[in-house]
Amino acid sequence: MGDLADLTVAEAAAGLRKGDLTAVELLEAVNRRAAMTEANLHAYLTVDREGSARAAVAADASLNAGKDPGPLHGIPVALKDNMVTRGLETTCSSKILSGYLPPYDGTAVTRLRDGGAVIFGKTNLDEFAMGSSTENSAYGTSRNPWDPETVPGGSSGGSAAAVAAGSALVAFGSDTGGSIRQPAALCGIVGMKPTYGLVSRYGLIAFASSLDQIGPLTRTVEDAVAALEVVGGYDPLDSTSYPGAVPDYRSGLDSGVSGLRVGVVTELNGTGIDPEVQAAVDATIARLEQAGATIVQLSLPSVEYALSAYYLIAPAECSANLARFDGVRYGLRRHGETVEQMMSNTRAEGFGPEVTRRILLGTYALSAGYYDAFYGQAQRVRTLIIRDFEAAYQQADVLVSPTSPTTAFAIGDRTADPLSMYMSDVCTIPSNMSGDPAISVPIGLDSSGLPIGFQVMAPALGEPVMFRVAAEVERQAGFDARAPYASSEAR
């Protein structure tokens, strides 16, 4: 057996149960890999050495006692640092939460702990999940294991880098406009955003409440399924949680795509997409057709406006969600003669430029006289987008596109022009707007050796068919999701 850090969750889980390895050994392997790669990658903000060691020991004891709480039992897990963890620093990669210790665990975190997962550490992100490269982190950017001069994507860049490099077997992130899928694509791993409401947001530090979802980043589609099984399902602490039974994610997972209708979204393929990326995507579509799928071209006209609507809705909601960071009850506080000054000084210093920009944008879009033309109109456009998707799913079982218009770009390439950074999300934003599930599957490398991601979208609660098609894509691509991770000792 090679380095345990290179195992998939499924392989590790099988090994644990067979007795070929222990949770403690798994954790040691991940620790070693992190030690090797962190200097270059900076995927982590916090590593909980003691807590994870205790959890690994407990997981082994539990297994030996014959208990088996589930597929992530004993598995080292990384959590994006916008998921609150009790007693473990949670910063959202912002100065305003430097040193903040939450007094509670989010629901997803609780379910992971209850499921025997070994929480190894908190990963880097764009500050408050706003960004597409992780360069907006107040604690330094993370780097792409495939080429450390390039970005890992964002906002869940740290989680993606860790899984790609093997310093976590599975990670969780959040996806508001593509923040799981885009970094997964850029780092050559699997990343998925569930149906809105399938995974509880209780404990996810809110960016845009009607768009945010927690989801897994893994090396395989099967691992993503396992991760979703552990964290998904109704939570009474989240009013937007889906109250019905969760779909059987595995149904049809290995059935292939024969008889399925695959819709190619006109607005998300071709124009504005890097030619190498599109070529890889087209080749994947062709293979799906050969495997028995029917390919249909579908136009969803309102999808052209999804990015514009998103940059009104998300900032508007975030401007209210981030109002609580005011120096009164927790976090950073800067001096002010009056409480108003204290708050203004605290927030000006505590928030980075991208966050500041979005708060200003959102405040403006909601303000008197502008609400109807901006926020109000964006909400109506959102309805049109939902209708277009609903109509499309009458004619196709899944919809496909590239995940990201380009592969990983160089660090510093897009930081001067916010709009160019926003364009990274043009393919992923539509399914946040509709609330439907979507997954990115790595299908190959471009001529620079950078990974290309293929996106499969499905209707609400359509995770089973989404995973089914994704599994087929993965099988055909035969892509090894383990990055030739950059380390201080070159391989």
């Binding site: 998921m83 609150v84 949670t90 959202c92 939460l97 903040y100 939450p102 007094p103 509670y104 989010g106 947001r201 209780y202 404990g203 996810l204 530090i205 809110a206 845009a208 409440s209 009607s210 009474p236 602490l237 989240d238 009013s239 937007t240 508007a316 909601e317 401007s319 209210a320 109002a323 609580r324 960071f325 005011d326 009164v328 009850r329 927790y330 409480v339 108003e340 708050m343 405040t363 909601l366 303000s367 008197a368 609400y371 926020y375």
Partner: protein, 480 residues
């Protein structure tokens, strides 16, 4: 120039649910500071609100009691502004689609009843409390403030009236009636002194007969019904003086100062009023169907106004009816007494007079007192058949209240029963008349004053037990 005041009242009512509006923290006035807080009501990162079902029902109850329509689809909204006692720096409230709309409340001022429209009743959350440290505890001279978030997140209902109120007196009556109704519903303890019921007023003046509204001024910080009336009277005068002098009334918020007896302008910031309302994305809409609404409507208790009307129909004077209707226990005893044959006004007068005084002295409630409907009915009967005089009845009441027994027992034990039947009285009267022929002559010739003397003689002869009224009647018959 004669002006007509145009007044609207905005009332906030804290509900007496067990837990807060959006989380499971306890609702309790007087807990040690910051002991009833959790991630949700403290606005910690990652926390989410979940609506308290009972708070929704209580809100519906208030709306239905105020004759409102209940929205089939109702939405929560974020009201965005920064204030240190508001953890999220937005308040979860309702804006575009409130739960209850278009109701009314009938208000009595003296003999007149008027109808005040209710624009809306909606749900929101209360804020924490700030204590200002510095000179005199007033915000203007404070050096810093202390924050307690126990109250943050307590369910708060906002009741907005139409600007239908036309006098300070009517405003007071409106708030009093609203409070009485809310107490009867049992959804709040509505204690003005504790802040579980608070109100602001919007006041403007217009020339009598004009249709357009004048500039309105918001008045805050009135902590009692009395200060509400005083504040409005002051503000009406102030605005009238301005208008008479040809000056304009400034649209602003003014703060009532109870000691100074005046309102003063607060520093107003124009931006403060841009609340940037948008639908609350963390909460889903409330859908009320016919069945739910009917169930709540059927569970409504009788409100004071309805009790009042019923009591008047039973024969009470309106004022007495109002007093009895305000107190659920008194109402129950009153109704039971009348059902037992007691005369309505008599019983009611005892309840509002003697009984109230007696209970206050012993510091007991009516429910704990031996005075009940049966006792009052019996007592009323004894007054009606003249076996007790009015003053004797009061003594008997005191005895019953003290636990000495039933009215009959007390009257007998204290020897208060008066004699009023002819058979017993005639012989005594005849004796007295025979013994006082001059008095009888005077009476026969029309001198009414001597009647008192003769009655007195009969009273002496009977040891005070004779019913003076009966004696007087018999003597008159004798005189012819």
């Amino acid at each position: 120039m004669a002006y007509e005041p145009v007044i609207g009242i905005e009332t906030h009512v804290e509900l007496t649910t067990d837990s807060k509006m959006f989380c499971g923290c306890q609702v309790n006035f007087g807990s040690p500071p910051n002991t009833n807080v959790c991630p949700v009501c403290l606005g910690l990162p990652g926390a989410l609100p979940v609506v308290n079902a009972r708070a929704v029902e209580y809100a519906m109850t208030i709306g239905l009691a105020l004759n409102c329509s209940i929205a089939e689809h109702s939405v929560f909204a974020r009201k965005n502004y920064f204030y240190p006692d508001m953890p999220k720096n937005y308040q979860i409230s309702q804006y575009d689609e409130p739960l209850c709309v278009e109701g009314h409340l009938d208000v009595e001022v003296g003999e007149e009843t008027s109808r005040v429209g209710i624009t809306r009743v909606h749900m929101e959350e209360d804020t924490g409390k700030s204590t200002h440290i510095g000179e005199g505890g007033r915000i203007q001279a404070a050096s810093h403030s202390l924050l307690d978030f126990n109250r943050a997140g307590v369910p708060l209902m906002e009741v907005v009236s139409e600007p239908d109120i036309r006098s300070a007196e009517q405003a007071r009556a409106f708030v009093s009636e609203l409070r009485g109704a809310i107490l009867r519903l049992g959804v709040s303890d509505a204690k003005l002194e504790e802040g579980s019921m608070r109100f602001d007023a919007n006041v403007s003046l217009r020339p009598v007969g004009a249709e357009e509204f004048g500039t309105k001024v918001e008045v805050k910080n009135m902590n009692s019904l009395r200060s509400l009336q005083r504040a409005l009277e002051y503000e009406i005068e102030r605005q009238a003086a301005l208008l008479d002098a040809g000056e304009a009334v400034v649209q602003e918020t003014r703060h009532w100062d109870e000691e100074a007896g005046s309102t003063s302008g607060m520093r107003s910031k124009e931006e403060a009023f841009d609340y940037r309302y948008f639908p609350e994305p963390d909460l889903v809409p409330v859908a009320v169907d016919d069945e739910w609404r009917k169930r709540v409507a059927q569970s409504l208790p009788e409100l004071p106004a309805q009790s009042r009307a019923r009591y008047v129909a039973m024969g009470l004077e309106p004022t007495t009816a109002g007093l009895i209707a305000r107190d659920v226990e008194a109402g129950a005893v009153f109704e039971s007494a009348v059902a037992g044959g007691g005369e309505a006004q008599t019983v009611a007068n005892w309840l509002t007079g003697e009984v109230t005084a007696l209970l206050r002295k012993t510091e007991t409630g009516l429910a704990a007192s031996p005075i009940d409907g049966a006792a009052l009915a019996a007592l009323a009967g004894m007054v009606a058949d003249r076996s007790l005089s009015a003053s004797a009845a009061k003594e008997v009441l005191a005895g019953v209240a003290a636990g000495e027994g039933s009215p009959e027992e007390v009257a007998t034990a204290r020897d208060l029963i008066q004699v009023s039947d002819s058979a017993s009285l005639e012989p005594v009267i005849d004796e007295v008349l025979a013994a006082n022929p001059e008095a009888l002559e005077k009476l026969r010739s029309g001198d009414g004053k001597v009647m008192g003397f003769l009655i007195g003689q009969v009273m002496r002869a009977t040891g005070g037990k004779a019913d003076p009224g009966a004696v007087s009647r018999i003597i008159e018959l004798r005189v012819g």
